[in-house]
């Protein structure tokens, strides 16, 4: 646990000093909103369409972060250092997933208000609490699956290609759950309650992949 915190602290510190990943993710999502505005030719979106635009944007922005997640480890020998240290290897998974989760939260703090400002028809105030809950669950799925995918992809020659093509199919069920749960929240006539079914599915998906990642992650670090 302590070693996980150390790795997490290192990652956050690195991001604070370089400002490499999060600004890119935020700018990407802002550009995506502009693109959606023109591509859909709508001044505002609501309901399921709004949920879809928001979720798809966050998903693709998350992919940017996922691609960069282990790059510093690989390029600067962080893997070797970590493997030499007498710590549990799962600490890396926990630390990286927590780091990615944090990145996604920061991204959403920027992107969700921007979405409310630029594209969303109904006001963002009433559904905010429900939206935070849904996004927390979806962030967990993105963080766990993203860490796993990134750890697989980082050692391949074409990691920028392999990461997204493996990650997207794995994230589709999480995307379905998030978009469906957020849809009623963003409805034009005031927020409905998010369907419990979808929250349960998201939660279950998080749980299963967290266990799965925990089981297989060690094999990705062996060398």
């Amino acid at each position: 646990m302590k070693s996980a915190l150390a790795v997490l602290r290192k990652d956050l510190l690195l991001e604070l000093r370089t400002f490499e990943t999060i600004p890119a993710m935020a700018l990407f999502s802002l550009s995506s909103f502009v693109i959606f505005h023109f591509a859909l030719n709508r001044v505002s979106v609501d309901g399921q369409l709004a949920a879809g635009v928001l979720t798809a944007t966050l998903l693709f922005a998350a992919l940017l972060g996922i691609n960069r997640l282990f790059v510093a480890e690989r390029e600067q020998g962080g893997f070797d250092g970590f493997l030499l240290a007498p710590v549990d290897r799962s600490a890396m998974l926990v630390a990286k997933a927590a780091g990615l989760f944090t990145f996604l939260v920061v991204l959403e703090v920027i992107a969700v208000p921007a979405f409310g400002l630029l594209l969303l028809g109904p006001s963002l105030g009433p559904p905010l609490l429900g939206l935070i809950g849904v996004l927390a669950l979806s962030n967990l799925a993105f963080a766990v699956i993203g860490t796993l995918v990134s750890a697989i992809a980082v050692h391949t020659r074409a990691r920028d290609l392999i990461g997204p093509i493996i990650g997207l199919p794995l994230l589709i069920p999480a995307l379905i759950g998030t978009a469906r749960a957020a849809g009623p929240l963003l409805a034009v006539h005031g927020p409905g309650s998010p369907p419990g079914k979808w929250l349960a599915i998201l939660g279950l998906y998080d749980l299963v992949f967290a266990l799965l990642a925990y089981a297989v992650f060690d094999f990705l670090l062996e060398d």
């Binding site: 990691r159 493996i166 199919p169 794995l170 379905i176 759950g177 079914k197 599915i201 297989v216």
Partner: protein, 242 residues
Amino acid sequence: MITHGRGLRSLSLATVVFITLALALVFFYAPLDADQGFVQKIFYIHVPLSIVSLCGFILGGVMAIGHLRTGERKWDMRAYVAIHMALIFSVGALITGSIWAKASWGHWWVWNEPTLVSFLIVVLMFATYQPLRFSIEDPERQARYASVFAIVAGAFVPLNFIAVRLAQGLVHPRVLTFSGGQLPGSMRLTFTIALIGVALLYMTLWKYEMAAKNARRQTRALRRLILGEDEFRPSRRSAAPS
């Protein structure tokens, strides 16, 4: 000298018998569907192909567990061949499914059809297996990473089906419920024979590819022995385990 194709002949014969029997039953025994007519007969090839390919994906994941647990390369080879064959079968299932959808629903692709959509997602997932292998150069690491991928993706198959099925209404006929569905007896018999036939075909092809892969590895080792390390030119890079 190890013989690789042991049991291949009897397996092939059984496959031929069952496939022939299945085709005969499909065309001469199974009744015509009341509202779909002749085109419904594609069901006897489409559904077995899909079921066998999904089982093949999961089988690949299970074999990959074997590889990670034992560390033996032969399990990686088995998993690779299982997934490779399942991919080929799944493309067949997608194509036959598309034809059937066009004929009976009027569209080549139907989005509000969970089974179709989740199958596509699974195929997209496993389609990345070979590019992943291909882009890792170190053979040992390639095998390990491919196994991790196969396990995750294998576990993803049922999960994905649950998620997508819940997302949409049911259009697909539920022929395979646990209570036996509403298939009339003659159709069920034909279907069962077809399913066995396709499963045997999968097993035969799996064994055949395994034999070919092993034989190739052995010839390569022999060539290296005869020619010596300097003269030996390694074969073209491939995604397959070597």
